[in-house]
Amino acid sequence: MASAPSKLYADDVSLVVVLLDTNPFFWSSSSLSFSQFLSHVLAFLNAILTLNQLNQVVVIATGYNSCDYVFDSSSDLNRSFENGRMPVMCSSLLQKLEEFLIKDEQLSKEEPEGKIKSSLFSGSLSMALCYIQRVFRSGALHPHPRILCLQGSPDGPEQYVAIMNAIFSAQRSSVPIDSCYLGSQNSAFLQQASYITGGVHHKPQNLDGLFQYLMTIFATDLHSRSFIHLPKPVGVDFRASCFCHKNTIDMGYICSVCLSIFCKHHKKCSTCGSVFGQAQSEAASASDKKRKTPET
């Protein structure tokens, strides 16, 4: 659904939905401690709210087992600023974050060893998109929305389908997804998300200066992005993961009806139910073989 034109607002009114990675497995092994990270982020959120009276900020925490809204600057509770905006925001956000982390931990079940400890990124991305859809439908006057992902956990291939669906729906609603990767490897999902939706992806080299990276790159409102140099995508990893085992693959089988990807030959497509032809030889059967290589 296309967004209604927000012509009555000045160009730089923005709604920033921040997806905060709270995966305990990642933070326990990260060089930047979670509390330092939070202090950078809180100052950044305050800066966004200072820039314009009408700016809004929503924070969604991405946990290991669940996701939840942690802060919404437009809710009534957060609007009275007798003691100043920053203390009110900090106390409410930190309190909700603590409650969320306790709940998240309780949901943990026994996991098999060797599983990649990824956070529930697809869940929080979908929640962000739902919130933004609600803003779009609230009337002609609304701020320009964008999503900022602060992720450090590695990608979980089992979330590939859900994340790609979310990315494509963000692309259709013209919502840019910015991503800031805090981990040590590269995240293919984040790179693809920013590339496809027209956002900015960056991996800060020095995590101590995270606040300055956030201010310089990610605080740019959508209007000014056409005038300022921002990090360009370099070498996005476009590899997909198969639908049956969720492994990342380079070459595989694709259903010609619904384009689902499989790593092994199947008799029937599990997504659309179309039966693959058996008459010809196994090698060049009705399902195409498509070569998928990472683009340079």
């Binding site: 209604a4 100052a43 009276q53 203390p87 300055q212 201010m215 005038f227």
Partner: protein, 451 residues
Amino acid sequence: MPQVKIIAKNFMDMVASLPAIKLDLLYRNQFICEAILRSLPPLAKKYVLQMLYIDIPITSKSLQEWLLADGSSKHKVAIDRLIQLRVFEVIDRKKETTYKLNSTFQTNLRKHMISGGILPREPMPQSVTARLPTSEELDAYAHEQWECFLLQLISSGQAEKSTSFSDSMMRIFQRGLLRQRDKEAPRLTDSGFQFLLMDTNAQLWYIIREYISNSEEQGVDQADLIAFLLELSFHTPGEAYSLDTLTDDQTTMIKDLADLGLVKLQKGRKESWFIPTKLATNLSVSLTDSSSRKQGFVVVETNFRMYAYSSSKLHCEILRLFARVEYQLPNLIVGAITKESLYNAFENGITAEQIVTFLQQNAHPRVAEKLPSVPENVTDQIRLWETDLNRVEMTPAHFYDEFPSRDVFEAASDFARMHNGLLWEDAKKMRMVVKAEIHMLMREHLRGQNK
């Protein structure tokens, strides 16, 4: 020197025109830093944020490197604005200019970012204030006060109660808006009409600007007033703040602001307090952000009929400016936009653009979501009728006829052409029209020719 002319159209321009020492004093207040940051163009805001934690000066060349090619004009505007407001300090080294953030501004903004701002006063506890007006009541109160003030301003005799502004104050506000000839009732001038058609924020700024420029004569310091107004805009609307927390000057100001509808004064048993309204909190928003979500009320149809769902006298007066009001019902004003009514408006100095903008900004919510909110045939016709009046251009001139001979005629026409005054000539019948400015020169030339 800044290359942008200062047109004090809004508050920030007035702040920018204060002398440097006063501006530095103002920047000690965290809220003023925030208000100034908010008023900057978006690119300027980015620059301030990026340079917030950089202590060494940055060369203007490195600033240019942050930009893409499209942005150079916006960049210039942003830099000029920053220098004007003295947020950027220019340090001219021998090779190139460098910029640095104003240090008072920088320290205070840093503090504001990290620890948030604390207002100098807290709202009063519920126990003392008992029942506070709801936000709708407050909005209605503000609206009513403002309308009453405007009606009194244009002295339309329809105001139900008069405000407590002294006559001299009202005259100062009316200066430029009304013109009074002897023995006649005061009439609105061109700028008066344009004032009425502006939206509330712009009108508010005009009045406050006049008020502040006048305050120097009353003995109140301009910078203090501006600081107080900006602080007021950060209070929470609907919360009560005690009057004891204000200085004497601020107390006098508050009474005037209550008349304008910016605050509501209330008295309890022992204490009295003021409640800021939405008009006050919108003060720090710049003119381009018309976040006044007030409901529009005008529906314009393709047959040029106009229905305004309003019972306000002010709206009726404004609509009478350019439309023919036919019926007035308790909640509805029915009218039509006709050629005569528009010609009337154009004669009074209103432009078609203003009328169209007014209709678009005040469109009823039912039509506001459609594009266009005012039918195109109506807006086109309004503009066409305006150009009708501009079809004929008049220049004072003189007509020359009956030249004795062709040579004299040609000499005269060359002479006129040399002085850039020839408007029309007919070589066959030897007639010409010459601009009035060079009429005297032509006469002397022709007399010289005769001899």
